[in-house]
Symmetry: C2
Subunit: 148 residues, 2 copies
DNA sequence: AACATTAGTTATGCGAATATAATCGTTATA
DNA sequence: TATAACGATTATATTCGCATAACTAATGTT
């Protein structure tokens, strides 16, 4: 039936991680409520932390559509969190950038979202180190694991 | 104050887990698209897998409001995924239950959501065992464990 | 019996997010 | 130069989730 005896362990681990992270879904609400805007807008601000980008790029980052990006940036601009300026290189493009206020809000969001659950803080050092190593491994693109 | 363990490691681990699970946010979309309904409705069906419940209970499970539960159950009923029946004990209450079709859909959703990322499947047995143990530990309710 | 409470429904409206088509100005190309 | 392509905006519509108030039917309480 099962090709691998570890199947059950994999399922346990996965649902466990899923559960841990999504119990943190409340964090999203906390972020949205604390900052007084939808989580999606917060996401836009967070993406802009990496640096200014055009409307087009922002649209791609958020996997939404251009018209909605326009509306959202209108709103964020009105709140004083971003500015729109014409791109010097291509006057069709507009560059969206965080204002200091916008940066502060985005960083506040990062801070809230980065707050780990207590159980993780209480983990003993050896387990933490092991977890750190394993998670890092899970995130690195799979090496083919060729041995010969 | 807690003498912080490896704060950096904690942050790394947490953001790593967050990322792993939420790169799986596509799974939610996959579920919604595959099943042709919003993820929220799927969530309702999944909760009903545990057994029939009243509208009230379902409302609480989904932390939404009664009117919306009515609308959603209307929709799910129309799709043939749930039935509504008057509670024998209290004729005010209505009991929502999955139909066979609804059960099938809910189980399909579970199957998709439970599908772990490839990297997890490729993890070597020792790491998997360690991860299994640690995750289990993270999920057990904190032991009082006097903290200085 | 009179009254309050509870479960669910109906009605209405709002904001968020998505989608499509049309438009305007700019840039690139045949 | 004429035209096609592109970036952004405007306008319009729909779905989803949330919120509130009003209503009904049934149950509980006094």
């Amino acid at each position: 039936m099962t090709d691998s005896p570890d199947q059950a362990a994999v399922a346990r681990v996965w649902s466990g991680m899923y559960d841990l992270v999504l119990r943190q879904e409340d964090r999203r609400k906390e972020v949205a409520e604390t900052l007084g805007m939808s989580f999606f807008r917060v996401k836009a601000l967070r993406r802009l932390l990496a640096g200014p980008m055009t409307m087009r790029e922002l649209t791609a980052e958020l996997s939404t559509d251009k018209p909605y990006t326009t509306l959202m940036v209108d709103d964020l601009e009105q709140r004083g969190y971003v500015t729109r300026s014409v791109s010097p290189g291509d006057r069709r493009s507009k560059i969206v950038a965080l204002t200091p206020a916008g940066t502060a809000v985005a960083e506040e969001a990062e801070r809230i979202l980065a707050r780990p659950p207590r159980s993780l803080l209480a983990l003993d050092p050896a387990d933490l180190a092991a977890l750190d190593r394993i998670i890092a491994r899970l995130r690195t693109p799979e090496e083919p694991a060729s041995r010969s």
